[in-house]
């Protein structure tokens, strides 16, 4: 079986993400300090491979990336990895890559699987649709980073509370840096999600015809928006930061992932898209 270029690019990106995940695991288990330096570089290397795979695949299949369901997760993962690569040094959040790499790998491979399930979101003829999807994808990417920072925060905070300062604790950045990064990702992602929700509501009448899955997806979309918004509002108004904000972020991202899964499994608006089983 001969592999075509998009397959090779996917394989290369997946290997880079897998390598980064493995190196981060070794690093957190107390391995050599070099592993913690190489792992983020592997993610940085994976980004152009991943981007090339998406572009090449969409060219070959004549599909705009933001319209293909199977590209959605892949794009979100690539954007998350790209954003991580851009800010990790400045925000001192290298360790967040330990969670970004496996997330990106999962989304990348899931996109491959999803390619056989559904082809296109919906044949809506609206100029807003690509923007709607792009905003949602940007939001998903940033929320995945926020939740990765939140997971890292919770782990480090627990180690600090339990006074276990050996091993993995030594490999984490300052606790506050993780909290700040999570807040920044959330603050950047929330306007995108808001835009996605607003533009999505333009097709609400079609949702009504879309069945239980579409309604569930819309409700969950609003729920995730509400959760992320609450985290931001409560932080500003009541000083909910640190552990509480981290749990809220993870919960919001969990709901977002469910929405994504519903998209992939049922296509847009509950209509199984052409080619879906």
């Amino acid at each position: 079986m001969s592999l075509e270029l998009p397959d090779l690019l996917l394989l290369a990106a997946a290997i880079a993400y897998l390598g980064a995940s493995a190196l981060f695991t070794v690093f957190l288990l107390g391995g050599p300090a070099n592993t913690g330096r190489w792992a983020p570089l592997l993610i940085t290397l994976a980004v152009p491979l991943h981007a090339a795979q998406i572009v090449w695949s969409s060219v070959v299949s004549h599909t705009c990336p933001v319209r293909g369901v199977h590209y959605m997760m892949s794009l979100a993962a690539m954007l998350a990895a790209l954003t991580y690569a851009l800010v990790r040094w400045r925000w001192r959040i290298d360790i967040v890559g330990a969670f970004v790499a496996p997330i990106a790998l999962t989304f990348l491979l899931a996109s491959r699987w999803a390619a056989g399930v559904a082809r296109e979101i919906h044949p809506l003829r609206s100029a807003l649709l690509p923007w709607h999807v792009a905003a949602n994808l940007g939001g998903v990417a940033l929320f995945s980073l926020a939740s990765a920072a939140a997971v890292a925060y919770i782990i480090e905070e627990r180690l600090l509370k339990e006074k276990k300062l050996e091993g993995a604790f030594q490999r984490f950045p300052p606790l506050e840096a993780l909290d700040r990064a999570g807040h920044r990702f959330l603050s950047l992602g929330f306007p995108l999600l808001t835009f996605g929700i607003l533009t999505g509501s333009l097709w609400a009448h079609e949702v009504e015809a879309g069945g239980v899955s579409a309604i569930a997806r819309a409700v969950l979309g609003y729920l995730s928006w509400g959760l992320f918004g609450s985290v931001l509002v409560l932080r500003a108004a009541a000083g909910w930061r640190g552990r509480r904000a981290a749990y809220g972020t993870i919960l919001g991202f969990g709901v977002t992932v469910v929405v994504l899964i519903l998209y992939v499994l049922h296509g847009a608006y509950g209509v199984p898209t052409p080619g879906a089983p």
């Binding site: 001192r92 600090l160 509370k161 006074k163 300062l165 050996e166 604790f169 984490f172 300052p174 606790l175 506050e176 840096a177 700040r180 932080r235 009541a238 000083g239 909910w240 930061r241 640190g242 552990r243 509480r244």
Partner: protein, 450 residues
């Protein structure tokens, strides 16, 4: 031969070290006097909190006299009327032991706090001072450069410098693990004990502000004046807990002065900002239950000392690996040094061969080959130069290699001198930096520097 004479925390009590450390003369004057002594070739004066020593390169035939002069100089610096007063506290290292000692000192293996990083900078500063005073040149300069490389290797290849080894540094390290930027933090000092002061001094360098709260306001004000901090009345403690990010407690109170209720009240006003307590008082000043509050972390003296012990244990665990590196480097340095011992013999051998060839060429050119023009003559000269180089390349390399591997390089050099009727060498060759660069080529199989 390298000789080291001095006192350190291992051999002399602090009052002796203080007398030497507080010497009125500057390094330049000491170096000037030492270098004026004919028995000392090159010399460096190293003075730190925990050691004062003279490192010198001397000729073997005057080594005892040199050690005597060095001892006199140390006694003079310590203000001893009789040098014998200092003798019980002195250590003396010669030759291989002296080189090993210099490597170990630079690598912080002989420091009071194993692996502390300051000593390397202090040795470099001493080396710079000696270089400025022109009291180090070839041999000692090369030794010191190699010592810096050894220290770097020890630091890179082992974890000898990792982990905090004092209560105050553990506190500061923990603060760095919690807060993204200490420059944004307000440090509150509760009480004015010595350990709290030490921790606050470490944090005070980087913190946005330091405040001192003590039951005796006068004492707080006095300490605040020393530390460029602000003194606050004890009655304002509740309000200060709202503002502070890091609280260092060291009061002599028999009961906790910071209770869970106090911190809980403060936490509401803090709007979720993290609060870190470094409680180094015994009995504890902060109720243990405070640690259970969200966003609040309390580390007491036991926690901190546990970390200190862990840091020291980790460093000691690296000691064997560090010592192996130092001994490995010592052998490499000695091999390189031995290879230089045959350098004069090689130079003589080349000169002899070249002179023989030149004489023969000259005779031929004035005899049977006198018809040759300038170009042909130049070509012949070049050919003989090339033949000399090719002929002597292998013997030169082998001589250096075997000298590096043998303990008695001088015997080998003597054999070559005897075979080729070379003049005997009375003086050591000067060791230039260029020689050091060629070392990895000379000593096959040895680890390359840098």
């Amino acid at each position: 031969m390298i000789v080291v004479l001095g006192v350190s925390h291992r051999t002399a009590p602090i009052d002796v070290r203080e007398r030497l450390g507080a010497a009125s003369e500057g390094t330049a004057q000491v170096l000037a006097r030492l270098s004026s002594l004919p028995e000392l070739g090159e010399v460096m004066w190293l003075s730190t909190c925990n050691r004062v020593e003279i490192v010198a390169s001397v000729s073997e035939d005057v080594v005892d006299q040199a050690v005597f002069s060095m001892r006199e100089e140390l006694a003079r610096q310590a203000g001893c009327s009789d040098a014998s007063e200092l003798v019980p506290f002195l250590y003396e290292r010669r030759d291989k032991d002296a080189i090993l000692h210099v490597f170990r000192v630079a690598s912080s293996l002989d420091s009071m706090v194993l692996g502390e990083p300051q000593i390397l900078g202090q040795v470099k500063a001493a080396c710079d001072a000696a270089a400025r005073a022109n009291t180090i040149r070839g041999k000692l300069g090369s030794l010191l450069r190699r010592a810096f490389a050894v220290a770097k290797r020890v630091r890179t290849e082992t974890a000898i410098g990792t982990g905090s080894v004092s209560v105050s540094s553990v506190g500061v390290d923990l603060a760095r693990r919690i807060f993204a930027d200490l420059r944004e933090c307000v440090v509150l000092l509760l009480g004015a004990g010595e350990m709290a002061e030490a921790a606050a001094r470490s944090l005070g360098h980087t913190a946005r502000a330091v405040r001192i709260c003590n039951r005796s306001f006068d004492r707080a004000a006095s300490l605040a004046g020393e530390m460029h901090a602000a003194a606050v009345p004890w009655e304002q403690l509740d309000a200060e807990l709202v503002e502070a990010d890091i609280v260092v407690t060291s009061t002599a109170s028999p009961i906790p002065v910071v209770t869970r209720d106090m911190v809980k009240r403060a936490a509401r006003a803090r709007r979720g900002r993290t609060l870190f307590f470094i409680d180094i008082a015994v009995p504890r000043n902060v109720e243990p239950e405070v640690h259970g509050l969200e966003g609040v972390y309390v580390y007491n003296i036991d926690d901190l000392e546990h970390e200190v012990a862990r840091g020291l244990h980790a460093r000691r665990g690296e000691l064997d690996a560090a010592e192996r590196i130092v001994r490995d480097e010592l052998e490499s340095y000695l091999a390189w040094s031995r290879s230089l011992d045959v350098q004069p013999t090689i130079v003589s051998l080349r000169a002899k061969v070249r002179s023989v060839f030149s004489a023969e060429l000259e005779r031929s050119l004035s005899g049977r080959l006198k018809h040759l023009g300038p170009e042909e003559r130049d070509a012949l000269t070049l050919m003989l130069d090339s033949a000399t180089n090719k002929l002597l390349h292998e013997p030169s390399t082998r001589l250096k290699t075997h000298a590096a591997e043998m303990d008695d390089a001088e015997a080998l050099a003597a054999a070559v001198r005897l075979l080729f009727d070379l003049p005997s060498e009375g003086s050591e060759p000067s060791i230039e930096p260029a020689d050091e660069k060629t070392q990895p080529k000379i000593v096959q199989g040895e680890r390359r520097l840098n």
